[in-house]
């Protein structure tokens, strides 16, 4: 019961965070989809993938904290798909 009441609030907070982050970066949208790291150019999708994985880790920690992970099925698909979703979304927002 306690968890059930908390989940929407946390999800809403997470959504707001993501949205504000997106809005922040959307301003500088016209940027080359390639990043220079010590003289090597890395494509943007690698960065998007890393951020997506990081966000997935955060979301998983939240799920664990809310004791919600055990209700996710099939879990072997959910987290990769969540990472892919974040990756695709970030890429679409910033680099398409």
């Amino acid at each position: 019961m306690r968890h059930y009441h908390h989940i929407p609030r946390h999800i809403a907070r997470l959504g707001a965070l993501t949205a504000s982050f997106a809005a922040l970066l959307a301003a500088g949208c016209s940027r080359a989809p390639t990043f220079n790291i010590l003289g090597s150019f890395f494509p943007a999708w690698i960065l998007c993938g890393l951020i997506g994985i990081a966000l997935t880790v955060i979301v998983r920690l939240l799920f664990v904290r809310w004791d919600f992970e055990k209700y996710l099925t099939p879990m072997i698909l959910v987290y990769p798909c969540l990472a892919a979703f974040f990756t695709f979304t970030i890429w679409l927002i910033f680099f398409s």
Binding site: M1, H3, Y4, G28, S30, R31, A32, P33, T34, F35, N36, F41, P43, F68, K70, Y71, L72, T73, P74, L77, V78, P80, C81, L82, A84, F85, F88, T89, W91, L92, S96
Partner: protein
């Protein structure tokens, strides 16, 4: 049941969240695929500009080098100068040759005038010869008339002689009967003798007149022959008149020699053919420049392209005239607008697939490749940027095709 109720709802919520995540991943993935298909992009791109190797059209030592490496040179500015003196001298010689020719033409004109006068003289000679012929013909006629005259005189003398002879024979028998005197007989005989001499004289006059006819005829023939000769001389002198054509025909040649010399002299100074950046300049003043041999390189900075290598599967979505975004990685925050100029039509074949071309038998590689990499073709995207935008050839770039709008 009261405990189970939230548990069931949480289970249901868990299922909804799970499948929502999977569906969202699928949907965003599909959107990404369609996005990259509709708007092909590649980071396999480089900034490019056309460039030329600047080479002189005349040879000689470089006496002035007006540019430095990496300098910007506006169109028409002097790049370098080759020692112009030999070409100046060549031009002077060509001009002097032309003047010589003009002098020869004047000389020849005078010679021709003199030959034309000679023709006039020959013509006068022919007319004089014709007059001579007429005169000789008249002389022949006169001699013929003289012959007729002499014949008439001879006839008259013969008639007179006949009369006197008859008269003598008539009166001679009368002497015996003393009807006539001896003196009368002598007179008659003398008259006969005189008339005989007159006949002889008339005959010789006739012979003389006939001889004169022969002589006049011969003179006539001679006059005709000399007339023919004078005509032949007229023809000869007419044919001997020279023409100016061999000399005037050389005028174009001499004029073109002057133009060539001027062209070479002008080419001693080499100017920038367009707004350009000097590059690969490694020489100094004094370098001996050879015809057609590059001295340094000029990058044509008027038009910059991004040459983007797109996979063959993407090419059907790329057409000349499409807009494109170009990012130059030395300034990744700046977005340049570009236009697709053209799409490449050929790259070097992959030697591991079709083998190498050569004489003899085809060199074909054995292979067990299941996965083949897509061939990439260069697409030229013209960058619309201000004229002074500092691009460099072969800078890394990213090109995103934005369609027809």
């Amino acid at each position: 049941m009261a405990d189970n109720d939230p548990e069931v709802r949480r289970k249901r919520l868990g299922r909804i969240v799970s499948w929502s995540i999977i569906a969202a991943a699928a949907v965003t993935g599909l959107i990404c695929v369609s996005e990259t298909t509709r708007y092909p992009r590649t980071d396999d791109a480089e900034v490019f500009a056309n460039f030329i190797g600047i080479a002189p059209q005349v040879e000689g030592p470089i006496t002035q080098l007006a540019v430095q490496d990496n300098a910007f040179i506006p169109e028409g500015k002097l790049l370098f100068e080759i020692d112009p003196r030999p070409y100046q001298y060549a031009l002077e010689k060509a001009r002097s040759d032309q003047k010589t020719l003009e002098g020869q033409i004047v000389d020849q004109t005078r010679t021709i005038a003199s030959q034309v006068s000679a023709v006039g003289a020959a013509k006068a000679n022919t007319e004089s010869a014709a007059a001579n012929v007429d005169r000789a013909a008249a002389a022949v006629k006169e001699a013929n008339a003289n012959v007729a005259n002499a014949k008439a005189a001879l006839d008259s003398a013969q008639a007179d002689l006949a009369y006197q002879t008859n008269n003598f024979h008539r009166i001679e028998p009368l002497l015996a009967k003393q009807f006539v005197t001896v003196d009368q007989i002598d007179q008659a005989r003398t008259a006969v003798t005189t008339r005989q001499q007159a006949v002889e004289q008339a005959r010789s006059q006739l012979a003389l007149a006939q001889a004169q006819v022969a002589s006049a005829t011969a003179a006539y023939e001679q006059a005709k022959a000399s007339m023919l000769q004078s005509h032949a001389q007229l023809d000869q002198s007419q044919h001997a008149v020279l023409t100016l054509d061999p000399l005037t025909a050389q005028r174009e040649g001499r004029a073109s020699a002057i133009q060539t010399a001027e062209y070479n002299l002008n080419n001693c100074r080499v100017y920038a053919p367009f707004d350009a950046r000097v590059t690969n300049l490694t020489i100094s003043r004094g370098q001996y420049a050879h015809v057609g041999q590059q001295v340094f390189t000029l990058i044509d900075t008027r038009v910059w392209w991004a040459v983007a290598n797109f996979r063959e599967t993407q090419l059907r979505h790329i057409h000349p005239g499409m807009r494109a975004d170009v990012y130059v990685l030395s300034r990744p925050d700046v977005k340049y607008q570009g236009v697709v100029d053209s799409v490449g039509f050929g790259v070097l074949p992959d030697s591991t697939l079709v083998g190498t071309f050569g004489q003899g038998l085809p060199d074909v590689q054995r292979s067990l490749n299941w996965v083949h990499l897509a061939t990439r073709y260069p697409v030229r995207v013209r960058i619309n940027a201000p004229h002074n935008e500092p691009f460099r050839v072969s800078e890394s770039a990213v090109v995103i095709i934005r369609g027809d709008h």
